[in-house]
Amino acid sequence: MSHPVSHLRLERYHLGELPPADRDGVARHLETCAECRTLLDEIAADDRPLPDLPLPDLPTLEVEPAGGARGGVVRGPARWWAVGGGALLALAAGAVLVLRAPGPLPPGEVAWKGGVLAVELARERDGQVHERPATYRDGDRIQVRVSCPPGEQVGVGVRQGDEWSWPLPPVACGNRVVAGALALSGGQQTAICAVADPVAGTAPPPGQAACVVLRGE
């Protein structure tokens, strides 16, 4: 390898992402090229902090504690419903549905249709993003990402106490698909779930919901 190693290949070498043959070639080159070794050392020594990445400006739905507006859980899906037309109005009707589903919550990942149904959260607070949070407080925005077998569709259910709501439209499955964002309030324990084949009026059966629980701070 007579050409200097490019910055991109050095970065990939540093990350351990080069294919084996390429990696070995770079390693041999580094033995004889002081300039490339210096660049690699600079990459390894660069510990400048990564600036916080704000969540994108997704439509945000507000979720209130049980006993709030509409006798339940969901309030004010303003932007979604304002622009969505008939299909979203139908979803809005589903949004006030309250389901009874006592019992333990399923984990954040369950097997489903030969693949995995999973939900993942990110919390934005004061411009800072925290991946996979365990807690929330009023004003936080919670981004919901779901993973599930392609070709399927899942709903996003929110459980506070024994009450369920469906604040976000169903989403087509994929790998870590952004389902939307929620604004939580009330401070009570809240479970956010990806639900397979959600049926109005029916609590998600075992094995068909993957949930992450947030505690109020």
Partner: protein
């Protein structure tokens, strides 16, 4: 976002090399990852992101107002140099000046060759071009550089 934490530092170094400013690099990289988040894209690797960051940084350089800021900030380096133009004098400042006037793809190739130290084969692979095409574009870059610095190519 795991992708951001894994690849963000490499992209920041790359954009800073192009723009000469850590703050501008942060703007470009943040905008890039926010777009990925909006689209729910997680199936991307570093070469893809490198190319995307290059194009976004070129847009910054081409933007008239931002370009004026960059040139003002690095004004000392813009005094025309005399003599032959080769890869040793096509530095970051000269590439920035060239990128403002070169065709889009040629500017991108110039960045890969003179700032990112890529071989013609590596550029061809990244851009989906033949090595011969890359060679021709780099010759255009050298001629443009010669015009800027007043030397023979």
């Amino acid at each position: 976002m795991e992708l951001y934490h894994r690849y963000g530092p490499a992209l920041l170094r790359k954009c800073e090399r192009m723009l000469g400013s850590r703050a501008d690099a942060e703007d470009v990289v943040q905008a890039l990852f926010l777009d990925l988040l909006r689209k729910g894209r997680t199936d991307v690797d570093l070469p893809y992101l490198y190319q995307a960051a290059t194009r976004r940084s070129l847009n910054v350089i081409r933007d008239g107002r931002r370009r004026a800021e960059l040139l003002s900030r690095h004004g000392d380096a813009l005094v025309p140099r005399q003599g032959a133009v080769d890869e040793r004098v096509i530095d970051a400042e000269l590439v920035r000046r060239l990128c403002a006037s070169l065709p889009e793809q040629t500017a991108e190739i110039a960045v890969y060759a003179f700032l990112d130290r890529m071989s013609q084969e590596e550029i061809a692979s990244l851009c989906g071009l033949s090595r011969k095409t890359v060679g021709k574009r780099l010759e255009q870059v050298r001629q443009a550089a010669a015009g800027l610095v007043g030397g023979a190519p």
